[in-house]
Each structure stands twice: as C-alpha cells, then as structure tokens.
C-alpha cells in the first residue's frame, strides 16, 4: 500500500515503511521527478508558477504562496495515499519542512480523506523508540 509520511522527507519513516513492506510516498520522490525532468525551468527553481496554481486546490488564494507551493507537491501525495503516518515533535528548524501552517494543512488534508493514519512522536529515549517502532510495525502489518 502507498503510505504518506509526515515529515514527508523523514529518513526514519521512509526506511520503516519500506522495511515493513509498503511504498512510502515522500517529498524526495516528488522532487526527484521534478528536478530530473529536462523540461523544468533552469535551476534552482523546482516549483514552477503552474505548481503554485495547482496548490489552489488545497489552500485558498489568501494563503501565502510558500504554503501553496508546498501543498502543490504534498497535496497530490495525500490524494494518492492509502494510509498515512504522522510523526510529531519535529524540531522547528527541520529544513524545507519547517513551515508550521503547511504541516497543519497537511494534517487536515490527511484527516479529511478518512484513510487509516497513525500519529506518533519523535523518540527521546530507548523506551520511547521501542514504543514508536512497535506502533508503526503493528499499523503497517495491519494494512496488509
């Protein structure tokens, strides 16, 4: 099954989803299709004005273009997903995903789709990590 992950570029979630036999839908996969496409506008642009228009499907015109641009990439992944795993408590400086409003919108989109989803937190200790992995494993095995 196709599993959408939040943060969408998480190494931990990508690896665990694959390890337990599913296909992760990630930001890297979507970006890869864009940057490897020879028709894309010259670097460093990897989101085109057209993408921002597509983002209108997921957020209103009054929403900042940065959020619409992100949703133009993440939104279709949510639409394609058959399940989702959301990992909370990511540090705020988490690179290109450090936009809280986009995170909130994505969570809303996932819940609106009524697909099975799991909410977990980044672990701070060994015991928390064990709980995290066992929850993810049980969730993914339950999807089969």
């Amino acid at each position: 099954m196709k599993v959408f992950i939040v943060p969408p570029n998480s190494l931990i979630l990508y690896d665990l989803v694959e390890r337990y036999g599913h296909t992760p839908l990630s930001l890297m996969g979507a970006i890869s299709k864009r940057v490897m496409n020879p028709e894309i506008e010259s670097p460093p642009i990897n989101v085109t004005p057209n993408d921002v228009k597509k983002g209108l499907k997921y957020a209103g015109i009054e929403v900042p273009s940065g959020i619409r641009g992100r949703l133009a990439i993440w939104g279709p992944l949510v639409d394609e997903a058959e399940a989702a795993i959301i990992m909370e408590d990511a540090p705020f400086e988490f690179g290109c995903v450090g936009c809280h409003r986009t995170d909130e919108m994505v969570r809303y989109l996932v819940k609106k789709r009524k697909i099975p989803f799991l909410e977990v937190r980044y672990p701070n200790s060994e015991d928390e990590a064990k709980v995290l992995v066992s929850k993810i494993k049980a969730f993914l095995e339950g999807l089969k």
């Binding site: 190494l11 970006i31 940057v35 988490f94 980044y122 060994e126 064990k130 066992s134």
Partner: protein, 147 residues
C-alpha cells in the same frame, strides 16, 4: 535525449545510505562493498554513509546487499537531487536545506535501531509517559532564587 549519460526510458533513482552512530560499519566499507558488487550504479562516499545512483532495480539490489552488513543499523531513503547536482552539492556551494533534519534523524538512529531489534524479537513494550515541561510556578521559584 540522454539524462546524465543514461537512456531516458530507464528510471533513475538516487538513494542515501545512512549508518546509525551505534554501528561499527564505516562509509568506506559500504563503498568498497558496492564496488565489488559490479552493479551499474554510481556511488559516492559521504560522512554519514554513502549515496548510490542508478537504475531503480540495480539500486534496490545494491541496497539489499548493503543492508546485509548490519541490517538494523543501516537506513536508506530516496534523495530528490542527483549526486553532485549543482543545486545541492557542497563542492558547487549548493544549499543544504535538509541537513539539520538529517543530522537530527541520524542522532535518533541508534534509538530506532533498538526499536527495530525489539520489534524483531516481538518484545512486549509499554507506553512511556512523556516528560512534561517545567511548571511555570517552579520556573518562577528558580528565577526568584537566583536573583
């Protein structure tokens, strides 16, 4: 039109291989292993492990072989940009917007590895109460004390 010297029809994938800090495997071991596999992939040794690029199936075969070195302590994910891409490669002064996340998740890998090993053994785990922040009254008391 060829893309990076390969046929357009072939689906190219770039993967990051990240070694958990608790593993004794080194990036050098991984790159040497990949060279001996003689699969048609490009490999680059990095500080956290390695990057592999090639046809999707060849990359999958390579990852399978690399995982055998230390399956619970070697993690992988797809990378959006190709190896040495001027937009990301440090040699070309590219930006690294995902670096802080990679650093944080790399630190977490030794914990995740314990989790994966525990799940493998089907150990029974119990929910751990989350450590709460310091109460405001307690914080006030500490501030007053240090005045």
């Amino acid at each position: 039109m060829p893309v990076r010297g390969r046929e357009m029809s072939k689906e190219i994938e770039t993967r990051m291989i990240v070694i958990a800090p608790s593993s004794s495997v080194t990036p050098d071991q991984i790159t040497r292993l990949i060279h001996t596999l003689s699969t048609e992939v490009t490999v680059k040794e990095t500080c956290y492990g390695a990057m592999v690029e090639g046809g999707k199936e060849e990359v999958a075969r390579t990852i399978e072989a690399v995982r055998k070195l230390d399956s619970n302590r070697i993690f992988t994910k797809v990378r959006g940009f190709p190896i040495g891409d001027a937009r990301r490669c440090r040699a070309h002064h590219g930006s690294r917007p995902g670096f802080t996340q990679l650093e944080k998740e790399w630190e977490c890998l030794s914990l995740i590895e314990k989790g994966v090993s525990s799940a493998e053994k089907c150990e029974v785990v119990h929910e751990v109460p989350r450590r709460k922040g310091i109460p405001i009254e307690e914080l006030k008391r500490i501030v007053e004390e240090t005045k």
